[in-house]
């Protein structure tokens, strides 16, 4: 190779590169081929217990942990008629301002009930500042099979401590009794 002209050597590099594996990720077409790592800090999610009651207790520790002041929580008291979470309190207002959030995950560490976790969803760009303040409806996790939309009573016979100990495995028919129509939360947003 040494006797080849310099120019040819240079073109050679270019030529052989054509046979190398292409490094370019074809986002967005092949989005699913390049998923983020499981521990990637993406959009938040407010989780529910297996019966559909919310895990958030409105304690505001996430808001306190937040270094960017991106979270606003306002708690309210559960009542027997309108129960959103086990125990005394639930998060009535839950807002995350994604134009302040730095995805550091301190809120996740602070949460005492694992109500707040992060997903791998990262496609968040939007055209106005207001639309990037996510409300509780936007953040709540999906209704999985066996879940009933809150508000509804706790599983009969279980206490809030049993919920925290993970003893609830799904909703039971008794919980659906005289439930307010169409999940109070969605109606208020």
């Amino acid at each position: 190779m040494a006797e080849l002209p310099q120019a040819a050597r240079g073109f050679g590099v270019t030529f052989f590169t054509m046979f190398k594996k292409v490094v370019t990720e074809q986002y967005p077409e092949d989005r699913d081929k390049y998923p983020p790592k499981p521990r990637f800090h993406g959009r938040h999610q407010l989780n529910r217990w297996a019966d559909g009651l919310e895990k958030c207790i409105g304690c505001e520790l996430c808001a306190w942990a937040c270094p960017a002041d991106a979270i606003f929580v306002e708690g309210a008291s559960n009542s027997e008629e309108e129960r959103f979470s086990p125990g005394e309190r639930y998060g009535r207002v839950y807002q995350i301002n994604y134009l302040r959030c730095i995805f550091c995950g301190l809120c996740i560490e602070a949460c005492p009930t694992r109500a707040l976790t992060m997903t791998n969803d990262y496609e968040l760009a939007d055209s106005s500042r207001a639309s990037l303040i996510y409300e509780k409806v936007d953040l709540l996790g999906p209704m999985l099979p066996g879940m009933l939309p809150a508000p509804h009573p706790m599983v009969p016979g279980l206490t809030d401590s049993d919920y925290y100990a993970g003893k609830v495995k799904g909703s039971v028919p008794e919980q659906a009794n005289d439930r307010p129509a169409a999940g109070g939360l969605g109606a208020t947003s």
Partner: protein
């Protein structure tokens, strides 16, 4: 004009709008303008692995006169704000602004007197991109969402109608101070 009258109403203009939008979105040239850590991700996006060239954005232009997209990548200090505005003013229209990362979008975690609390105080922003910093995919996603906006841009009389409609909407909108939602 002759052709317009003989065609079904609106066809030609719609087509011109679509064509212009297609042409514009297909050759967005960003200005080279990195302010902080977000710029590292922006450079990565231009590199081989993410390859912004796939979307007709070959080069980051060193002169604002040749650019039509300003990616504000990083926090804008109060001292930088007039510079930023000058660069924006030097760009020829039509032009777009992408606020990349939370600092450019709202000040992010730097809620203090040194940082402009959102670059929309200085220039009109077309798309906001959360993240600290956003990963390259997020930037590409934002650029693609901007492409959609550009594709749907109205022209001529349609734009005038749109402006009238938007203004009427804005005049009847609730002021921010009255938007309480669930808050007490």
């Amino acid at each position: 004009m002759g052709l317009e009258e003989s065609l079904p109403s609106g066809v030609l203009l719609t087509t011109v709008e679509k064509f212009a939008g297609y042409a514009r979105k297909g050759s967005l040239w960003p200005a080279t303008f990195g302010l902080a850590c977000c710029a590292i991700e922006m450079m990565t996006t231009g590199g081989a692995r993410y390859d912004l060239a796939r979307f007709g954005m070959e080069v980051f232009r060193a002169s604002p006169r040749q650019a039509d997209l300003m990616i504000v990548a990083g926090r804008v200090s109060q001292k930088m704000a007039p510079v930023l505005r000058q660069i924006y003013d030097q760009m020829p229209g039509p032009k777009w602004v992408l606020a990349m990362g939370v600092c450019a979008s709202s000040g992010g975690m730097f809620n203090n007197y040194a940082i402009v609390q959102g670059v929309d105080h200085v220039v009109p922003v077309d798309i906001y991109l959360p993240g600290c910093p956003p990963r390259p995919e997020m930037l590409i996603d934002a650029i693609l969402k901007l492409h959609d906006q550009i594709q749907d841009t109205k022209l001529g009389p349609h734009r005038k109608q749109e402006i009238i409609a938007l203004e009427a909407e804005a005049l009847t909108a609730a002021p921010t101070s009255e938007m309480r939602g669930l808050l007490r």
